[in-house]
Amino acid sequence: MKKVYVNEDWCLGCHLCEYTCAAANSGAPDMIKAFAGGKKPVSRIQIEESSTVNFAVQCRHCEAHPCVKGCIAGALSVQDGVIVCDEEKCVGCYTCVLSCPFGAIVIDEGGHKIRKCDLCTRNSQGEPACVKACPNNAIVFEER
């Protein structure tokens, strides 16, 4: 299955992936509208950075998926290998946030739900938005 991978050698820490992800999943037609009026939609990909190395972290869609196993509301499920969240069912208990070994699940800007990467399978992006936005091919979407 094609997944998103990050090569820290080429990650510049520019954070464009975060902003593109947030906008792509905000429901707004473009980035300006997504962030208009001081709105700060959350990104499902997060840059970890230090002075010498940067890389982006998002859901690995791992086979162990402790988040799905721990979900008390049945909101998280695996669909065709992609771990997705039914936000209608999510009760904001954050069990998944605690159990994710990658720290890849983030809390929604409203604070009562979680948000996570679904490889842009539920928006109109086609290929994951972070991959398209990366200026240095540090984020790739491929079979490994």
Binding site: W10, C14, L16, T20, A34, T52, P135, N136, A138
Partner: protein, 501 residues
């Protein structure tokens, strides 16, 4: 605080309706022009350090940025332009020589743009390169002087070393040090894929790039940095750099702050020391001396590699080239006054040398007049900007061209001409690790390959239009050229007729 007399060259225009304060501009600017103020919740810019490299503009996800010339102007003066005044202020403050980078930006005539190409109509049909064979392969080196036959009547060829190019375009010398390791890797990989050559410049060859040796031209310059047996053996040819178009008569100076561990090893000089290339080769004061070095290098490499001598296009270029053709060198590379550089004294860059078009025409003519044109191949560089320039150069007599500025542009350079600061935001002319990684060779080498492939297609189209199906038939074929808006003297030097003649 002393008064800063300098007027910022540019202003940063930020559209507040578009800016989402993502701070990409701030993170990507090595000149620290942009910053975010949390109290004001606003992006602020300090344009005094902006070099107009366009990195922020290119990466801004909402296209909220524009960099434009500063509208604040000194009082208009036809003689004392703002640039001249700024330079006086700068020197009055620093007491130093003005430094610049990349090619001469002044508005001198561009002769390429005053030459028009021919096309076939009716009597000599044009050729469609997509349907019929079209040859752009080029061989560089001495040509056989005569034909001799063995006892069976088969021709015996002289064993002159040569370079074989699939396209008549090579990447010109740029040293590791002046450009980053990633930029070098991109050039090397592109040259390999294109079946052409890149040039190490005077900075030696990084150990990781010996594997591209078959597509490498190893340069020997006046500083002799990184020159040793393995280096000479590694490449396909050796280039002796006598001069550079951007700074004829001037040496080089790579500041110690750029000499990091890897560059120090590659150049074979201590870390942190300035790498100074003298203006002359201290062992070359005549054509005879040059011949000694040419022959020494040939001897050192078992007479297997062609030797290139690179000179800047200067007033006596034809006579110098004639000497070089007799020095034993196989190829002469001529670099015009618009050629790029990582750093040159501004006055030298802007005022020394001559246009490559005129230099090429006069060198080719002189060598033909003296009957020694076949002794040597001619490669020209110094602002070959597009495939039409290549075609015109070949028709004026060049065997191949060197491109470097165009190659840098393909890798992302925006010609901000600030290479000498070492803070290239595109990861090309820098050694700062965080900036170098901005140039991903996987992307850059493909862009180089694309560029040269595109030019090759266009060269074939133009040749086909002229009814010519091989580069050999175009070489020195000045009947295919006509001048426009040129004086009789210029036409005479170029050896072409005026349009309409």
């Amino acid at each position: 605080m002393a008064i800063n007399y300098m007027n910022p060259l540019f202003e940063v225009v930020r559209d507040p309706d578009r800016c989402i304060k993502c701070r990409v501009c701030e993170r990507q600017c090595a000149n620290e022009v942009h910053h975010y103020d949390p109290d004001l919740d606003r992006m602020i810019s300090d344009e005094t350090t902006c070099v107009d490299c366009q990195r922020c503009v290119t990466l801004c996800p909402t296209r909220a940025l524009k960099i434009r010339p500063n509208e604040n102007q000194f009082r208009e003066n036809g003689n004392w332009s703002q640039q001249i005044m700024d330079e006086v202020y700068k020197q009055a403050g620093s007491g130093g020589v003005l430094l610049s980078a990349m090619g001469n930006p002044r508005e001198y005539p561009v002769y390429w743009d005053k030459i028009l190409l021919n096309a076939s109509q009716v009597t000599n049909p044009p050729i469609d390169p997509l349907r019929e064979p079209m040859e752009t392969k080029t061989f560089l080196g001495k040509k056989d002087q005569s034909i001799s036959y063995d006892e069976n009547g088969r021709p015996v060829f002289e064993k002159n070393p040569y370079l074989e190019l699939d396209v008549p375009i090579m990447f010109s010398a740029m040293s590791f040090g002046s450009i980053s390791k990633n930029a070098h890797e991109s050039l090397a990989r592109a040259a390999e894929e294109l079946g052409t050559y890149y040039n190490t410049g005077e900075g030696g060859l990084h150990k990781d790039f010996y594997k591209y040796g078959a597509n490498t031209i190893c340069q020997v310059a006046s500083g002799r940095f990184g020159v040793f047996k393995d280096y000479l053996d590694a490449g396909a040819a050796i280039e002796i750099k006598m001069g550079q178009g951007a700074k004829p008569g001037i040496g080089g100076h790579l500041p110690g702050m750029k000499i990091n561990e890897e560059i120090s090893k590659t150049r074979m000089i201590p870390k942190g020391t300035d790498a100074i290339s003298p203006a002359p080769h201290h062992d070359i004061y005549s054509i005879e001396d040059l011949r000694q070095l040419v022959l020494s290098l040939k001897e050192a490499t078992n007479w297997e590699k062609p030797v290139i001598v690179k000179i800047a296009a200067v007033h006596n270029v034809a006579a110098i080239a004639s000497g070089i053709a007799r020095s034993g060198a196989d190829i002469i590379a001529i670099d015009g006054y618009r050629g790029g550089t990582g750093a040159a004294p501004t006055r030298i860059r802007d005022n020394v040398g001559i246009p490559i078009e005129l230099a090429l025409a006069s060198v080719d003519q002189r060598l033909r007049d003296e009957g020694i044109r076949n002794n040597i191949s001619i490669v020209v560089g110094g602002s070959v900007r597009c495939s039409a320039d290549v075609v015109k150069a070949v028709a004026l007599g060049a065997d191949a061209v060197y491109i470097a500025t165009a190659a840098l542009l393909a890798m992302g350079c925006h010609l901000c001409r600030s290479c000498n600061t070492g803070k290239c935001n595109w990861g090309i002319a820098t050694q700062r690790a965080d900036l170098v990684k901005r140039l991903n060779p996987d992307i850059a080498y493909k862009r180089l390959v694309n560029l040269v492939h595109a030019w090759d297609h266009e060269i074939k189209e133009m040749m086909g239009g002229m009814g010519i199906n091989s580069l050999e038939s175009l070489r020195g074929n000045r009947l295919m050229l006509r001048g426009i808006g040129l004086t009789q003297k210029e036409l005479d030097i170029l050896g072409i007729m005026h349009a309409g003649e």
